[in-house]
């Protein structure tokens, strides 16, 4: 009998449950999809180094899943509480009819069970379907070749989803039982009748609180952008975050009172159509929902930051590689090592030998396998430190960036060598006069610091020759191939200034003599195997190859993107669902109010417009503040992730915006339509 009642309850209130159901199904599906990636990657045809990264990614995804489960669990309990509140009257009637609290708990138990089973089944089916699409994305991300489409069902992910969600549902059941056992009949029956007290806040207090919170927020913004250089350890970031969260709360608190005051003083606007009604609706609710607004705003903020930086990392990483890895291989070797106890004599002897000769001794035929070969040296002068090159700007810069190492020895390259390299790398060539030098760098913050020194016209003296800067800022460029912009600065000087200087590094860059990927991979394998040569023991030689850099950064980019997408989407769903449920749970009150408006003859169109605005404001308010937060948050992320690349941000912001519009907008539309249905009921 009780089971039947539960079934009927659900069938009857399916409209009210729609959003709850929708969210649960979405949650289950997403949870499954991201946990099923593991079994999809197993099928992929990729190299072993990519496998390592995939392995790391899968481990991280399952770690993140635990966190996601906490968020979803919190969301489900929260949502469930709303639904319980709506049904207070119903429970009250059961109790007056003589049903025991235990039996009510049992009804709720069955209901949760039914809802849980249905949502799990539908969610898993949906998840399995969507994960086939996901497998295309996964293959694309890792640039693996999809030879044929294969239907993948991950029983491990399925089982994991079942276990995690079962635990959540059991928690909900316990929570419900507790809530029912604590409730009082009189409160249940009168739940709908309680007159709402609208407390008006003191407008002056609001103004003061608002100003203080805006200032605090401004300070927090400054901390992560303008004052970023003061941030020396990871913990300092917590202060602006805490300040931001607190001021967000107080901004909502004060703004609700303030906006009402402002609009009320604009009498012509306030007393137009249903404006007064809409505003009061808004302010009466915001008083009670400031806290959840804050949470939602912060969650949206994290979502925007996570999504846009995760997507941008992947984009800029791959985009960077085109310019950062212009040739197939770069081999470097320590040169002219000092004699003494530090290095064995064999190593010291080897360090006099050029890179090309070393390769020969290792048994590798440079002419046979390499083309476009270019060999050159980098020089380091130990009596020439970073602080010297900054000249008169040093004091100021050291004060601004106290944590940087200014006692690093500087690196030099011959003008002719660099120009040959620049031609090969397709970089800007530099034409120096005899008494000039230039600096190449592509790590933004270092480039800025060095440009400061160049602007001051700092001269440097090498081998008795004094050089002055050719440009007043750094030239974008690099020597070593890496996956990101990490060149902090290399000095390009006229060839004769480096005569007799000890070499620091010997570098050989080249392309493989091969026509296709297969041929290139063969040469690559040969180079990897050089490590086994007996001569390798006594030489400090290393190589960066296009293939290894691509694999590494593609894997890393994909990993960050997936984790970012996972977290971002879950956060987004959670916050949108909370808003939607909150709005819908108040629709019963709204129903009466709209009924009243209808009785005094308000047009349907006007009512719908008022409802649309009311819900719209509720969805928009936290979003707007979250977007403002994000402007600064993304700036901070850009700073942190600078080395991964720049420029690609716009694209990722557009992607993020699309995801936001789709999910957040979707929740908004569903909420509006459901509410419209509720207020339409019976005239």
């Amino acid at each position: 009998m009780l089971f039947k009642l539960s079934l009927k309850n659900i069938a009857r209130s399916i409209k009210d449950y729609a959003i709850y159901f929708f969210t649960l199904i979405l949650g289950v599906a997403i949870f499954y999809i991201f946990n099923a990636i593991e079994s999809q990657t197993v099928m992929m045809n990729v190299s072993s180094s990519t496998y390592e990264i995939i392995d790391l990614m899968n481990n991280m995804l399952s770690g993140v899943s635990v966190f996601v489960a906490f968020i979803l669990g919190f969301l489900i309990i929260y949502a469930n509480r709303f639904l319980m509140k709506r049904r207070n009257k119903e429970f009250g009637i059961y109790l007056t009819l003589g049903m025991s609290k235990r039996k009510i708990s049992l009804i709720l138990f069955f209901e949760t069970l039914i809802v849980g089973v249905i949502s799990l089944v539908v969610g898993l089916v949906l998840g399995t379907a969507l994960s086939q699409v996901m497998s295309l994305l996964v293959a694309n991300m890792f640039e693996a070749k999809m030879t044929e489409f294969e239907f993948v069902f991950s029983s491990a992910a399925c089982l994991k989803t079942l276990i995690y969600f079962s635990v959540m549902y059991v928690l909900v059941m316990i929570f419900n039982t507790y809530a029912v056992s604590r409730s009082k009949l009189i409160d249940l029956l009168n739940a709908g009748k309680k007159a709402e007290k609208v407390k008006m806040k003191n407008p002056w207090l609001c103004v003061i609180v608002f100003i203080i919170s805006v200032c605090t927020l401004g300070y927090a913004y400054w901390c992560v952008t303008g004052g970023i250089s003061d941030m020396q350890s990871g913990n300092t970031i917590l202060i602006p975050i805490a300040l931001g969260a607190i001021s967000t709360f107080f901004i909502f608190w004060s703004l609700s009172g303030l906006l009402l005051k402002i609009f009320m003083s604009m009498k012509n606007v306030y007393y137009k159509g249903l404006n007064s009604f809409t505003l009061r609706q808004f302010s009466s609710k915001i008083n009670t929902t400031v806290f959840s607004m804050t949470i939602i705003c912060l969650m949206l903020f994290f979502t925007i930051c996570i999504l846009s930086s995760a997507i941008s990392i992947r984009n800029s990483m791959t985009a960077n590689l085109q310019t950062l890895v212009p040739v197939d291989i770069e081999i470097n070797k320590k040169m002219d090592l000092p004699e003494g106890a530090e290095f064995s004599s064999a190593v010291v002897a080897d360090s006099k030998v050029s890179v090309r000769e070393t390769l020969n001794r290792l048994g590798f035929d440079v002419n046979k396998y390499f083309k476009d070969t270019l060999e050159f040296n980098l020089y380091v002068s130990n009596d020439f430190l970073v602080r010297d090159t900054l000249g008169s700007a040093y004091e100021e810069i050291a004060k601004q960036f106290p944590y940087l190492d200014y006692n690093m020895a500087e690196t030099f390259i011959k003008e002719s060598d660099y120009n040959k390299l620049a031609k090969l790398y397709k970089l800007k060539e530099i034409d120096l006069n005899d008494d000039e030098y230039a600096v190449i760098a592509d790590f933004d913050s270092w480039a800025n610091i060095r440009s400061e020194g160049l602007k001051h016209g700092t001269t440097i003296t090498l081998n008795g020759k004094t050089l002055k800067p050719k440009y007043d800022k750094c030239v974008e460029g690099f020597v070593n191939m890496t996956s990101s912009h990490v060149n902090t600065g290399i000095f390009v000087v006229p060839d004769d200034t480096l005569v007799n200087m000890p070499r620091e590094t010997g570098i050989l860059v080249a392309n493989y003599k091969a026509n296709d990927d297969g041929g290139r991979e063969k040469i690559e394998d040969m180079i990897i195997n050089l490590d086994d040569s007996p001569y390798a023991e006594n030489t400090y030689i290393g190589a960066s190859t296009k293939i290894s850099i691509y694999e590494g950064s593609i894997g890393l980019g994909a990993m960050i993107t997936f984790i970012g997408l996972y977290l971002g989407i879950i956060f987004l769903i959670a916050s949108a669902a909370i808003l939607a449920l909150k709005e819908l749970s108040e629709s019963t009150d709204n129903k009466e109010r709209f009924q009243m408006l209808r009785k005094i003859g308000t047009d349907e169109k006007m009512l719908n417009k008022a409802l649309f605005r009311q819900i719209g404001i509720f969805f928009l308010f936290p979003l707007v503040l979250a977007i403002i937060h994000s402007i600064f948050g993304i700036k901070f992320c850009v700073y942190l992730l600078e080395t991964f690349g720049k420029g690609e941000l716009l694209k990722s912001i557009i992607m993020t915006a699309l995801i936001m519009v789709f999910i957040y907008g979707g929740y908004f539309v569903i909420t509006y339509l459901c509410s419209k249905n509720i207020i339409k009921e019976r005239l």
Binding site: A195, Q281, G601
Partner: protein, 255 residues
């Protein structure tokens, strides 16, 4: 006198063919401009259904209702809403004030949904507040007011649009006797001084005795009709009581 409300052979049925309930069974009457009419009847007699039909909240099964010459049973959709907000004023038993708005804003809403500019709203509210003696409570919220105050605010909202007809459904139903008396005296004032036409539904003889005419309904039919004429309120009250006694049944309980 021209008649503002004409009701012709109105019938309203509920239920299906097998179990038909005639809530209104062929009722016809007219209300003239400037009249204060009370409709009396026991609960279930069909008086509220009748009011709902006149106020277009409910639809008639057959028959016609003319307000100022216009057949409102033919109105639909937004024309219906327009009619309701421009030609009618409502007063409900449970006040139906919006709990989130102050008294002032509640009254203003009736005008602002007609797109009346604020300058005009301001003047009109000042005037109506004086007439209904609610100046002191204008800035209060419904939960801060007494029942009588709430009902007078609701009345202000109903008449501020200068409706052709004010419909009141058990306006004193939720009030104590002192507040009832005060409200009804205001109704009399509105009726006499401002020439408002009022149609009121009640089951209370005391409330009905403030009207100029009382129509009795029993089982969906008009049972009797009384006119005040030159009687004092007390005499009129006694006459009403006589009819109520005649009506018998449960209307007695309501006394």
């Amino acid at each position: 006198m021209e008649s503002i409300l004409k009701i012709y052979n109105v019938e309203k049925y509920y239920g299906s063919r097998s179990s038909l309930t005639k809530a209104i069974d062929n009722i016809s009457f007219e209300v003239e401009k400037g009249e204060f009419v009370a409709i009396m009847g026991a609960s279930g007699s069909g008086k509220t259904t009748l009011l709902n039909c006149i106020s277009t909240i409910d639809r008639v099964t057959s028959g016609h209702i003319f307000v100022d010459g216009e057949d409102i049973t033919k109105l639909k959709g937004n024309r219906l809403n327009k009619f309701r907000r421009e030609e009618l004023g409502f007063i409900f038993q449970d006040f139906n004030l919006l709990d989130t708005l102050t008294a002032y804003e509640n009254i203003a809403l009736a005008l602002s949904i007609q797109n009346v500019p604020y300058s005009e709203i301001k003047v009109k509210i000042e005037k109506v507040a004086k007439e209904l003696d609610i100046k002191d409570v204008l800035n209060k919220y419904p939960y801060q007011m007494s029942g009588g105050q709430k009902q007078r605010v609701a009345s202000a909202r109903a008449i501020i649009t200068n409706p052709k007809l004010v419909l009141a459904d058990e306006p004193t139903g939720a009030l104590d006797s002192k507040s009832s008396k005060m409200l009804l005296e205001r109704f009399n004032y509105l009726n006499k001084e401002l020439e408002a036409t009022i149609l009121m539904v009640t089951h209370d003889a005391f409330t009905a005795s403030y009207a100029t005419r009382v129509i009795f309904i029993k089982d969906g039919k008009i049972f009797n009709e009384l006119r005040k004429g030159n009687d004092t309120r007390k005499e009129f009250f006694d006459k009403i009581i006589d009819v109520v006694t005649l009506l018998g049944g449960d209307l007695n309980d309501a006394l």
